[in-house]
Amino acid sequence: MPEVVELRKVGKVYVNGPVSTPVLFDVDLSFDEGSFNSIIGASGSGKSTLLNIMGTLDRPTSGEVYVTGRRTDVMRKDEIASLRNRTIGFIFQFHYLLPEFTARENVLMPHWIGGEREVQAASAKADELLDVVGLAKVKDNLSSRMSGGQQQRTAIARALMNDPKVVLADEPTGNLDSDNTESLYKMFRNINERFGTTFVVITHDRRIAEKTDRIVGIKDGRISMDVRV
């Protein structure tokens, strides 16, 4: 199976003035297309750093990053932006919706950023996604006027809008109660199976991790465990 994301000997050192903090050490890691993966590890072990580098939001200090086979750590910023727009969906612990726009407009945002073609198809797609995440009734509310769970589900619909090859989620349920957490994972699974979207999910919750196809453990910036179910 082809690899959606591949890290080769990725190292990351944060430098703040005289202080430099090495966080990742020669990480080799790749994820297969259509797979459903989790990353676990102690707080401060480097999970978010790893995910942000995979998502091209951050650049590695050393090593190479490939997304859908293209090397990204040497691309121009605009090229990366366009690649991100078309192939990667992000879900963060905090939803990061734009409060000035409605739920539906937030979902459409990645499409608008990509250049507004196929307006009707996009509109239908946004409605379908909002339906999938169970927000058909509140889709025209301003995103700031929705509950936390509704906002996070809107963010999920948004992450899926441009049919990304991979969805990178950093503790997407960190702010939600267990019922909501449960239903969100069911939704991820459902989408993974329906659209073949690759998922890489950082989680603290072992029970959730155990439901995924592959668990990658990070310890002090190195891969400490890699279990495929």
């Binding site: 978010s48 942000n52 998502g55 939001l57 951050d58 910023k77 605009d78 932006a81 366009s82 690649l83 991100r84 727009n85 078309r86 992000f90 963060f92 612990q93 905090f94 990061y96 919706l97 734009l98 409060p99 000035e100 726009f101 945002m109 990645p110 608008w112 950023i113 990509g114 507004e116 948004r158």
Partner: protein, 383 residues
């Protein structure tokens, strides 16, 4: 399109802030329009009053003898000078009026009335009676009152050698300039030439020009053309240097006011937008994470500056013009006529608006750069 859409949403979501900035820009632009137009109008009416009813360029003899015998040749020589709108000859000489023992010294001016009217607008300002024919005179209103004369009366004018000539008063004029209204007696060219024994001679050739501020250039061109003739060419600008430097001072202070107002507008917009970039950094970060380019995210704020400038300018122009209209309506002389005549200079008014829009866009450049430099990872890390 998306940056514009986002800019509009940002402006709508912080409505109070947007309205305040728009009001600020409107006030700035309206002050510019008001002050600029007022000062411009004052200057225009001052110039109008100074040279509206007088020649802009005058050719006189450069010899001791003030008589120019070949005025037709002179007119032919300068025929093709650009920008001449009126030309006339005049035969002038001092004289005395003596009625009922009251003596006034006057200037008798002999004109081809139709040609001279193009320069002096005298015929529109005849208050009583009519234009003079041969052996008739038009006298200034001040003089008429002083001498107690009016249309139909006869007056005796005596020249330096004591010879007296009898004229009939055809009418009384009022140009609103006391030195003229108190001292001029206008008659036909032929009468003046006979009275002063000038033959076919005149004492000056007078011109009006299209662009009054180019009068000195026109005069220079004429004096080059007339080099071989014993004449000198004067223009109103040389004769009114003080007025001109006063006007220039006004223009500079008007410009200063406008520059400072503009600077205040620019600073206001720049600071509001700088705050806005910080307020919206979370949104910009997440938009960039979703693939919004740096260029597009800077355009959000450029558009916002442009829109604020555009709306503010439109309101500002409307407000400024309304202020001007109410000024002429309410600031009036006792007789109800406006204190000053307004000259609405449309290029100036629209220019003020356009410059404010450009300034607003300029003010948005620094915030736009900030937005462009914002890195999504910073925003996402520092939730």
């Amino acid at each position: 399109m998306l940056p514009l859409k986002i800019a509009l949403r940002f402006m709508r979501s912080s409505r109070a802030q947007t309205i305040l900035v728009v009001i600020g820009i409107s006030i700035g632009v309206s002050v510019q329009v008001f002050v600029g137009t007022l000062i411009g109008s004052l200057q225009q009416s001052l110039i109008e009053r100074t040279i509206g009813n007088s020649p802009h360029v005058t050719v006189t003899s450069s010899l001791d003898d003030p008589v120019i015998m070949d005025s037709d040749t002179i007119l032919a020589v300068v025929e093709d000078v650009d920008g001449l709108t009126a030309r006339s000859v005049s035969a002038d000489s001092p004289a005395f009026i003596n009625e009922d023992g009251r003596t006034s010294s006057v200037l008798v001016r002999g004109w081809d009335l139709e040609a001279a009217d193009q320069i002096y607008g005298i015929l529109d300002n005849v208050r009583a009676g009519s234009a003079p024919s041969d052996d008739e005179v038009l006298v200034g209103i001040g003089l008429a009152e002083e001498q107690g004369i009016g249309p139909g009366d006869s007056v005796n004018l005596s020249v330096a050698n004591g010879t007296r000539y009898a004229f009939t008063v055809a009418g009384v004029f009022d140009l609103g300039v006391s030195s003229i209204d108190d001292g001029w007696v206008i008659t036909t060219l032929g009468s003046a030439q006979r009275m002063f024994s000038l033959g076919e001679g005149v004492t000056s050739v007078e011109f009006k020009v299209q662009d009054v501020f180019a009068a000195d250039a026109v005069a220079l061109e004429m004096s080059t053309l007339l080099e071989s003739y014993p004449v000198q060419v004067d223009n109103w600008k040389d004769q009114n240097e003080q007025l001109l430097s006063g006007l220039q001072g006004q223009t500079i202070s008007s410009l200063m006011i406008q520059v400072f107002v503009l600077a205040a507008v620019v600073i206001a917009i720049a600071s509001v937008l700088a705050i806005k970039v910080v307020q919206k950094s979370k949104q910009i970060g997440i938009l960039k994470a979703m693939g919004l380019t740096d260029g597009a995210s800077s355009r959000v704020f450029l558009y916002e500056g442009l829109l604020l400038g555009l709306v503010g300018s439109v309101f500002g122009v409307v407000l400024g013009v309304s202020l001007l209209i109410s000024f002429v309506t309410f600031a009036t002389n006792p007789d109800g006529s406006p204190l000053i005549d307004l000259y609405l200079d449309y290029p100036f008014v629209i220019g003020s608006g356009v410059i404010a829009v450009l300034a607003a866009a300029l003010a948005a450049v620094i915030p736009a750069r900030k937005s462009s430099k914002l890195s999504p990872i910073e925003v996402i890390r520092n939730a």
